[in-house]
Structures are given as C-alpha cells and as structure tokens.
C-alpha cells in the first residue's frame, strides 16, 4: 500500500541538539571532510526591538509534494519513491550542474567529492522495512517526525516547518 510521507519538524520542540544530524551521518557513512551534512541544525536568535527571539531548526530535504528539484534536474536523477513518495535519487547520470540546488528554496542539495548530488533520501529503504528514518528515530524531543500526508495532522500547523514554508514553496518554479 503506497503512502505519502514527508519528514517534518515541530519547531516548538527542537532544541538544536544535533542528534538528528549525527544519526544521519552514521546512517549514511558521511565523510564530513568531503560532504556537507544532509541535516542542517541551527540555533538562532534574532533581536527585535527590546526583545530577542530564539529559534531552533533541523533542516534537510523536505520531500516536497511537488518538488522543484525533480522538475529542475536535467537528467531526471531525482524522483518520488512510489511506495513512500519520499524524494529519492539515482545519480548515475548526474552531471553536477547544480540545477537542483538552484531549484530548491531550502538550499538543501549538496554535492559529494565525485561532484554528484547528495541529500537526504528520507531513509526510504528503512521506511519500506517499517523502520523510521534515522533522524526521526534519533530525535530526543520528538521534534522530527515522519508524517503521513494523508493521515491526521501530527504537528500543529503553526509549529510545523512544512506548513510554515508552504506559501513560500508555492512561489518556487
């Protein structure tokens, strides 16, 4: 039974601890000297008037329903996994043109030492086997979730990174 999944962040629960990023590196054998981590963790603060607001983020591929990177890739390396609808890739024909990076409004795609695109694939093979994506499994505060887009709302829209970025995403071509 095919599902439509995405990985979403409850920004109210994230504390920028980085557990997700490390779990991702372990899962994907990431050589950090050569390749930028797939998950980007931010501990942010912004001064507005008298007050300062603090916010926390863990950002990797958002597995957009209508993913601009898929449309932008000249070699059709990026595709939707039919079982999970996660945005997966086969970079056999990747030419390293960076078009996917120009398409992605989250700044997500990175490139390995071979010049080919790499990014979060949602651990789709783990998901096929009933396992959670490594980052979701690792998140100690339950901020990162594998969400079923056709299921009930798991994260309040005002705290959901996915929801909060939908308007922005709709403008990307």
């Amino acid at each position: 039974m095919s599902k439509r999944y995405a990985i979403d962040l409850d920004v109210s629960k994230c504390v920028s601890c980085g557990a997700c990023a490390v779990a991702c590196m372990d899962q994907n054998d990431l050589n950090v000297k050569q390749t930028r981590p797939f998950r980007n963790v931010f501990d942010m603060e912004r001064q507005e008037g008298e007050g300062t607001t603090y916010s926390h983020l863990s950002l990797a591929c958002m597995h957009c329903v209508d993913a601009p990177c898929i449309v932008g890739c000249p070699s059709a390396c990026i595709q939707k996994d039919p079982e999970t609808n996660l945005t997966v890739f086969d970079t056999t024909n990747c030419i390293g043109c960076h078009s996917c990076a120009m398409a992605c409004p989250y700044g997500v795609p990175g490139f390995g030492p071979d010049g080919k695109m790499v990014k979060c694939d949602g651990c789709y093979v783990r998901v096929h086997h009933g396992l959670k994506p490594a980052c979701v499994k690792a998140c100690p505060t339950g901020a990162l979730r594998l969400i079923d887009l056709d299921g009930p709302e798991e994260i309040a829209p005002e705290n959901s990174l996915r929801h909060r970025s939908m308007e922005m995403l709709s403008k990307q071509v």
């Binding site: 931010f42 932008g72 120009m102 970025s165």
Partner: protein, 420 residues
C-alpha cells in the same frame, strides 16, 4: 478523449504524464520526427565530454519504454500542419482529429551561413545528432583548432568540450562580453579573465566573417579583420521557436502565445516548452524562457488542463546556472535593469561572490559566482517579491544563507531595501 501531442521533448513528455494522471483511458497520440525519446539539449555537451553515456541524453528512458509506461500511440512522422479550427493534425499519411492538441515542437538552433565554411566543418549544438556529429568528428583526432561563435551558456560548454579534446579554441561574440544576456559586465569580465587564464582565446565585438585557406590551414577571418585557425566552427548563436506547424492558426509572436493555462488563442490547442511564449514574472510581458524546468512546468500544466483539470503556471523569471571549468555562474532576472547595488565577495577571489541589483523594492537581477548553495533561496526570494510579497526571509532560509557564507549584513540590507 483523444489527445494529440505534436513534438516529443520534455514538454510533450510532461504533458503526456499529466494527462495520464487524470485520464487513464484516453488515447494519447504523440508525433515526433526524430524517432528518439525525449532528450535534453542541455546534456549534449556532457555526452561529448564523456560525463554521460549516450543513453544519459534521454532522462526518461528509451522511447518504447516511455510509450509503454504512459500508454502512448507513437507517430514517427513529420507534422505538416496543425489545423486549429477543426483540431486536426496533418501529416503525409493523412489527417487525424483530436479533442485536444498540444504543440510542443521546441526550438531549433539557427545560424547564418558563413562564406567559405564547408558544411562538414560547421557545427550546431542542439540535437542528439549535433552531439553525435561533433563527438565523431573530435574522436577522429584531427581537430587542432576551432572557433566557437556565441559566448552563451551553450557556447562555453562547447568550449569546455573542445578544451578537453586538446583543441585550441577561440570563443567569439559580437556582444562586448561573455553571457551578455545574463551577466553584469563586471561579472562577465571576471569570468572572461578566468576563461582566458585557461588559454582560451576570447574575442568580443567580433564574429566570424568568412573562412579562407591559409597555407593549407582552414582559417576564420573575423569581422574585425583578425584571423584565427579553425579546423571547425561551432555556431552557438541562438535558437528559434519551432512554430511553423501552427503558422496562421494561432497567435504567434516570437513563440506561440499562451496564457497561464497554456492555452493558445485557438480553443483546444495548447502549447508548452521552448516553442511557447509565456509570462515573464519580472516584466509581466510574454517572453520565451527556454529552460528545461520551464518546459516541464508548462508541459505538466498543459497536460493537466487538456485532461479537464485546472492547472496554472503563472510564469517564470530568467534564470540560469552554468557549471563549467570548475566554476558556477548563476544569473537571475533582467541584467539590464539599473538600481541600487548589493555586493559581497571579491570577483577575483575564490569563494562566494554575489551581486544583486535592487530596483523598485524588488531584486531586479542577480549574479552569483561559485555558490550554488544560495541560488535556490535567492531565486525564491526574487519570485516572492515579484508575486507581491513583502521582503523578509523566513528563519530557515536565512540560516541556510548564513551557513553558505552570505553575510548577515547583506541579508539585512536586502530585506530593508525590499520591504514594500
């Protein structure tokens, strides 16, 4: 329902796919004269370079596989005419009528004739055949010098290929600079410096006038009177929308005029891809934006609407990323618009350089060197401003830009200058 798709590049492919998502039963007839699966003209130089096998030119797989997957009826024949009034497609074999027709004939490379240039030494760079021809020629190993005319994205990729084959290359353009349609003159100059440093002979304000034989060496005589040895000449001057089949049937400017539903002026006839002229979101005018992603979006919208759906593709801005000779050049928007300048990084240094021109509270144009990482977010920001949104970056975009090396001052200033 019977759908006719004339031309089977990526726009036609995406239309067929969108039709199939909504209409599993309808007949989808696809007309193409190449007998090839949809291919990406941008990949041709990568194939010659050796980065891709020939099969890599066809991102969606071989033609039969595509036809199978999408349930298409293929017509390997040249379309002579599409009659808009009665939704008919005419070929040598006869006339077929459809309920909806998509024109997705793409564009063709054009080049004026060059006196004295033997046809076997003249090369274009658009089609799979063009690529194969140049590759075969280079693989023979007898090309020692070449002139590439057209300092465009295609031109520079041909130069890169020739360089790899050890060919002495001269890149010429009548324009004063490289990438004249996308780069700011200062950025062009920096790129030219880097290209020249690799031993590429660059000539601007000049193009090829004619060919002569000098001491047995085929030689290009340039419009400024200078001479360059040229065993072959690659003409990367430009492309033209292929609109002949609907000439006189629908409204055509430079391309087939379409609205955001990809409808032409004739009911039931749609157009998408490089033959179509949609909206430039920056100028609000209709303009051909001949980009792969644009063709995909247009094709998908057209297909969805043809099958009775409701899809809109509002338009696009000019945007380009060219990865060549170990550098990235990214150009967004209209590089002719003047305004207030925002700049970070040094043009001669390595690492991130970005130059944005702000005009009327919008980012009118931007050039980026050597940082693909900020490109998607910056483009998104431009698009949101053109859509009338106020200028502020959400925290996740801001964080990614900072991580990629864009300075807070740049972002803050850009936000202030675009804050309605």
């Amino acid at each position: 329902m019977r759908y006719g798709i004339v031309g089977f590049g990526t726009a036609g492919y995406h239309a067929a796919q969108a039709i199939r998502e909504q209409d599993k039963a309808g007949e989808v007839h696809v007309y193409g004269d190449t007998g090839l699966a949809p291919y990406n003209p941008m990949l041709t130089t990568y194939y010659i370079f050796g980065k891709l096998p020939r099969s890599g030119l066809f991102p969606f797989g071989p033609l039969e596989e595509v036809a199978d997957r999408l349930g298409l009826t293929l017509h390997h024949e040249r379309v002579q005419k599409v009659r808009a009034q009665d939704l008919a497609v005419e070929t040598e074999r006869g006339v077929q009528r459809y309920d909806k027709i998509l024109i997705a004939t793409g564009a063709t490379a054009f080049a004026p004739p060059v006196k004295g240039l033997s046809p076997q030494d003249a090369h274009l760079m658009r089609t799979v055949d063009d690529a194969q021809r140049l590759k075969d020629r280079l693989d023979r190993g007898d090309v020692r010098s070449a002139v590439v005319v057209g300092a465009s994205m295609a031109g520079i990729k041909v130069v890169e290929v020739l360089e790899k084959y050890g060919v002495r290359v001269c890149l010429a353009d009548l324009a004063p600079h490289i990438f004249p349609l996308a780069a700011y003159p200062e950025v062009s100059a920096a790129i030219e410096k880097r290209v020249a440093k690799r031993g590429i002979d660059l000539r601007f304000g000049a193009t090829i006038d004619h060919m002569e034989l000098w001491n047995g060496q085929k030689t290009a005589v340039m419009t400024d009177g200078s001479v360059v040895p040229a065993d072959l000449v690659s003409l990367c001057i430009g492309t033209r929308a292929a609109t002949q089949v609907v000439q006189g049937e629908v409204d055509i400017d430079r391309g087939i005029l379409v609205n955001e539903r990809m409808e032409t002026s004739a009911p039931g006839v749609y157009a998408a891809g490089d033959c179509a002229q949609g909206v430039n979101l920056e100028s609000g005018e209709k303009q051909i934006i001949g980009l792969w992603a644009n063709a995909n979006r247009q094709g998908a919208a057209a297909g969805a609407n043809m099958a009775g759906g409701e899809a809109r593709f509002e338009g696009n801005i000019l945007h380009n990323i060219t990865h060549f000779m170990d550098m990235d050049f990214i150009g967004f928007g209209d590089n002719r618009i003047q305004g207030e300048l925002l700049e970070q990084g040094a043009l001669d240094g390595d690492g991130l350089y970005v130059r944005a021109v702000i005009s009327g509270g919008r980012v009118a144009g931007a050039n980026i060197l050597d940082s693909y990482r900020i490109s998607g977010i910056l483009k998104n920001y431009m698009l949101r401003l053109f859509a009338g949104e106020g200028g502020s970056l959400p925290d996740y975009q801001r964080a990614m830009l900072l991580q990629a090396g864009l300075r807070a001052e740049f972002i803050d200033r850009m936000e202030v200058m675009t804050r309605g």
